[in-house]
């Protein structure tokens, strides 16, 4: 396992841990959504989802990404602005 691989697992677990106030499935969906929105393709591809060091929520998130495709926005941070919506386009 490369350093990068270990770091990606750590990052995924860290994201999952910060959604721990949600129930398991919601936390997994939020984690999947976050990874989908913010990770580069090689990072997403770097984790299979079967790694034993992944937390249950993080592991489930990768299952969602593999099997269900792009999840709907789970957190407001991943609702991005429409192309030219007047007055609201500053969100980020």
């Amino acid at each position: 396992m490369s350093n990068t691989h270990a770091r990606l697992i750590y990052m995924a677990n860290q994201i999952a841990r910060n959604f721990s106030a949600l129930d398991h499935e919601a936390a997994a969906m939020a984690t999947a959504d976050h990874i989908q929105q913010f990770w580069d393709p090689r990072m997403k591809a770097g984790i299979s989802g079967d790694e034993p060091d992944l937390s249950p929520v993080a592991a489930r998130a990768f299952v969602i990404l593999r099997t269900e495709g792009e999840p709907p926005p789970q957190t407001r941070a991943t609702v991005f602005n429409p192309v030219d919506e007047g007055g609201r386009s500053d969100a980020g």
């Binding site: 350093n3 990068t4 990052m11 580069d40 386009s89």
Partner: protein, 947 residues
């Protein structure tokens, strides 16, 4: 434009809904109630002689030169201290006034050296002007009596001198220091004839005094008693150009006062809406780096970092860089290439770099320094409010009743705004400081925080949740605001969460180390004290829960109804001059300008159509991920404009490994910075004085940057990016940054109404500038949040994984100091080093004594990542168990010690929490010695002709 002094109305502007009409010298004038007669006269073009009055400070009435006659009033009142009244009839020039003024002036001149022709203030001196104005023709008193002539000047300050024999003791400097800067470093020592201006030190030495060298006293001085040394050296300016400072995120505007292409001085522009005529030591004085001998003005290349640099023509450098980039792309694909935009460059330059990466390189691997500072602000405020920026303008603080400062040290990092904040605090606003260190604001002249919560580093979320617990459980929520403006379901979830007993101040005290009663009192004050404003900095964002802390702050503001009007709000104090702009311009790998996600097909299509390219729909790599990928061999080339990631980013050894692994590193900068040690192409950059464009400050204020001299390297930075883009086959033909700004406005709805011409006409605009806000938006979320309803987020406290233990028992937190800026590339090349020649390690006396360390001793600072040595400063500013240092000097490389832990949402590094040990040391570490060798080796420049 030619040179003219900035208008001086004599006394400050008064704001009042009521007006008063009076007659001055037969002319009718209507002014706000409370205005002085002097100012009213100035409003209609009058010029009552004055010496002790200036509109930057309150009237004083000491010089007796501005006397006037008022019908029905006895005597000759001073116009500066006499307020206007309805129907008042004023005469500013009568035989009696002439005689009185001449008498006063004669006395002033009788104790002033008559060396006007050789004085540095010749023709720019208010005393000289006043003598002419009153028609002084003769001085009857000789110099035989007691006088102040011949006193030696104090030249200790590197930027200005104090010549006591030129001083007329008008107290303008003392009042400027008190009222404008708020340092109260100066005083009038002695009485009567013995009165003299003093910096409060035994030797009257400005440098060793409390003076912070902001320049307000120099600006206020009517003579050459306090004068810039640069004016003494170069002479009086002949023209001035208004431009924007390139230091911190306050975004002060200055008049660059010039003689030819020589910058004589930078004087704060009184009409500047961010700084309101004030400045700090950096913007006012620390511009000498622009002409420093270290500046590189010729492009250079080398095939390997082991070779010396070779100076080449621009054509060769650009061709070489483009060739390597194209080769790497052909072999490894577009996603092996990327770039970093600069928060020190203009919006236009930043926009072009991300355009080059996305449209030219073909990847979204673009990032910016906000990654390591305020990226959590973007995530947190977007989630809760719907916008990635502060909610207020700086003027807002004048309406605050309670100011909460968390994880920020404004007097050092944002000094000009800090002065405005301190003024409000001196007027009676209450202050809460949440910071592990006892920063200056906690207790300084006439200011004392109502509550200082010295939390354990890394426990911001726990402290804010505990405050929320108090506010909710004690019934202090602004229920009306929440009901009308926020998502009620989300609020109820949040309220349930924070109300849990496990989040009470008492239960969290062992974690936060903040006394529960003190925290409760602070929470009550914030919720009930009137307009509550929150200001925060990198002590909030640079944590593993940086984004969570930003959201916890937003929760607190919404729960107490402190959003949507002047005096309140959530205010991130941005670090670098254009970090807000760099983010706005699409510098993050997942979004285009205006914060629109790259995966959105419609947004992408807009850019694709405009740029004539196809864009990658997937997010790119963040800086730290680029370095990881470089070590893995999948990321191989980078174009870095105006950033020094080797010094500024965490875990220096990892940054070095990543850079070293790349096939092509292109550094575009003023100096051979630390990152350039690993570069193959060096493209010389231009300073802010050498370019046109715009910066956007922490208030979302877009301001013009204007070229006052030609670029020493031959090109403005946007032109260099354009050369590279065209060598990559992009066919750009921008002739001026205004054309780039037009493209930004065309593609970015928040900038829709911004044009170069409009900015030049009005001075500045605060985005969004669009159909809904044609003149911009000083305060956001007034009637509703950008996202509609405010969104409360449950912020579970997750302790950092960086733990102290027997080997590393102390917590290191890092920050900056007033005299230096970021990695110090600019300020280290100015006389600011007089105040801070090296990074110091602040340590509590108990911790120092336990280790046998005394003030000034060398110490080894070690973490799990690395070690360095630096001198110790023993101080009670830090709590026991906490140490603090700055990262301004490459010899220290403080980031050798910091870890790769980062914010869960944005990967903003956790600079503020590193477990360390400190021990006595007698020399540099192996890393420092090795790095010094590398640094010297890699900066070699061969002057041999190429084969």
């Amino acid at each position: 434009m030619g040179y003219a002094k900035q208008p001086d109305f004599g006394t400050p502007e008064v704001r009042s809904d009521r007006t008063v009409t009076l007659s001055i010298d037969g002319r009718e004038v209507t002014v706000p109630e409370g205005t002085s007669v002097m100012r009213a006269a100035a409003e209609i073009g009058g010029d009552i002689p004055k010496l002790c009055a200036t509109d930057m400070v309150k009237s004083f009435g000491s010089c007796r030169l501005c006397l006037v006659e008022v019908e029905g009033m006895r005597g000759t009142p001073a116009s500066c201290t006499t307020p206007v009244t309805e129907g008042m009839v004023v005469k500013t020039q009568t035989p009696r006034l002439e005689k009185l003024r001449r008498g006063v002036m004669e006395l002033y001149i009788s104790d002033h050296p008559l060396d006007c022709l050789t004085c540095s203030a010749n023709n720019d001196c208010e005393l000289q002007d006043a003598a002419a104005d009153v028609g002084l023709r003769d001085v009857r008193y000789g110099y035989d009596g007691a006088h102040h002539l011949g006193q030696a000047p104090d030249v200790s300050n590197p930027y200005f001198l104090f010549a006591p024999d030129k001083c007329i003791v008008c107290s303008r400097c003392v009042r400027a220091c008190d009222e404008v800067q708020g340092t109260l470093a100066l005083t009038v020592d002695g009485r009567g004839f013995a009165s003299k201006i003093s910096a409060g030190t035994t030797e009257d030495d400005f440098l060793s005094s409390e003076c912070v060298s902001c320049g307000a006293c120099v600006q206020a001085c009517p003579t050459s008693a306090l004068m810039e040394k640069s004016v003494k050296e170069h002479g009086k300016p002949e023209r001035s150009v208004v431009t924007t400072c390139a230091y911190c995120g306050v975004g002060c505007t200055f008049r660059a006062e010039m003689r030819g292409e020589q910058l004589v001085r930078m004087v704060p522009w009184k009409e500047g809406k961010a700084n309101r005529g004030h400045s700090c030591v950096k913007g006012r004085f620390a511009w000498g780096y622009a002409n420093h001998k270290d500046r590189i003005t010729s492009p250079m290349i080398r095939d390997s970092i082991d070779e010396p640099w070779r100076e080449v023509s621009w054509a060769e450098a650009i061709s070489y860089a483009a060739g390597r980039l194209k080769d790497i792309r052909a072999e490894h694909g577009a996603r092996a290439l990327g770039g970093i935009t600069s928060s020190r460059c203009t919006n236009e330059e930043t926009f072009l770099v991300q355009k080059l990466v996305r449209g030219g390189f073909g990847s979204n691997n673009v990032d910016t320094c906000a990654r390591v500072c305020h990226s959590p602000t973007g995530y947190g405020l977007k989630t809760t409010f719907g916008t990635s920026a502060g909610t207020q303008d700086f003027d807002s603080v004048e309406h605050s009743d309670v100011i909460l400062v968390i994880g920020a040290n404004p007097t050092d990092a944002h000094p000009v705004f800090a002065s405005r904040m301190k003024r409000r605090l001196r007027q009676g606003a209450k202050l809460i400081v949440i910071d592990p260190r006892r920063i200056d604001l906690v207790r300084s002249p006439h200011i004392e925080a109502a509550h200082h919560l010295p939390l354990q580093p890394g426990t911001n979320v726990a402290v804010l949740t505990a405050m929320a617990h108090v506010i909710v459980t004690e019934g202090l929520v602004d229920a009306k605001f929440v009901q009308e403006r926020c998502e009620v379901d989300a609020f109820e979830d949040w309220a349930r969460f924070v109300s849990d007993e496990s989040h009470s101040p008492e239960r969290l005290e062992p974690v936060t180390r903040v006394p529960a009663e003190e925290l409760r009192a602070a929470a009550r004050l914030f919720a009930t004290g009137g307009n509550g404003a929150i200001y925060y900095g990198l002590g909030v964002t640079e944590h593993s829960q940086g984004s969570s802390t930003v959201m916890a702050i937003a929760n607190l503001a919404m729960a107490t109804g402190n959003i949507g009007r002047p005096g309140v709000g959530v205010n991130p104090l941005r670090g670098q001059n254009n970090v807000q702009g760099a983010c706005d311009m699409g510098s993050f790998p997942h979004e285009l300008s205006g914060y629109r996600h790259i995966s959105d097909a419609e947004t992408r299509a807009l850019f694709e159509q405009d740029w004539g390219v196809t864009l990658d729909a997937e997010p790119g790599l963040r800086i730290n991920n680029m370095l990881d990928a470089a070590c893995d061999g999948t990321f191989r080339a980078i174009y870095i404009q105006g950033e020094d990631i080797l010094q500024s980013d965490p875990d220096t050894k990892h940054v070095a490994a990543g850079l070293e692994a790349m096939d092509c590193v292109i550094v575009h900068d003023l100096f051979l910075n630390e990152t350039a040690n690993y570069a193959h192409v060096f493209l010389p950059g231009s300073t802010f004085l050498e370019k046109d464009g715009t910066f956007t400050n922490a208030e979302r204020r877009i301001q013009p940057v204007r070229r006052v001299m030609d670029p020493a390297n031959g090109y403005e930075d946007w032109q260099v990016t354009q050369l590279l883009a065209n060598a990559m086959g992009l066919g750009w033909d921008y002739g001026h940054p205004s054309e780039i700004l037009a493209e930004i406005a065309r593609l970015t709805p928040t900038f829709a109404g911004v044009t170069w011409e409009r900015l030049c006409a009005v001075g500045s605009l605060q985005w969004p500038v669009n159909e809904a806000n044609p003149d911009g938006a000083p305060v956001m979320h007034i009637d509703g949040f950008v996202r509609g309803k405010g969104h409360f987020v449950v912020t579970e406290y997750v302790p950092t994984d960086e733990k102290t233990g027997p080997r590393f028992p102390l917590l290191l937190t890092t920050g900056r100091i007033l005299s230096h800026y970021n990695v110090g590339a600019q300020t280290r090349r100015t006389a600011n080093t007089a105040w801070h020649p090296e990074d110091l390690l602040e340590m509590h006396p108990v911790d120092a004594e336990n280790r046998g360390l005394k003030d000034g001793d060398w110490a080894r600072l070690a973490s799990r990542k690395g070690e360095t040595t630096l001198r110790v400063k023993v101080t009670e500013r830090v709590a026991p168990g906490v140490v603090y240092t700055t990262f301004h000097h490459p010899e220290t490389q403080a980031n050798v010690v910091t870890t790769d832990y980062s914010d869960w949402a944005t990967n903003c590094p956790e600079y503020k929490v590193t477990a360390v040990q400190v021990a006595p040391s007698n020399g540099p570490t192996d890393w420092q010695e090795d790095y010094a060798d590398l640094s010297e080796r890699s900066r070699r420049i061969s002057h041999e002709p190429a084969e």
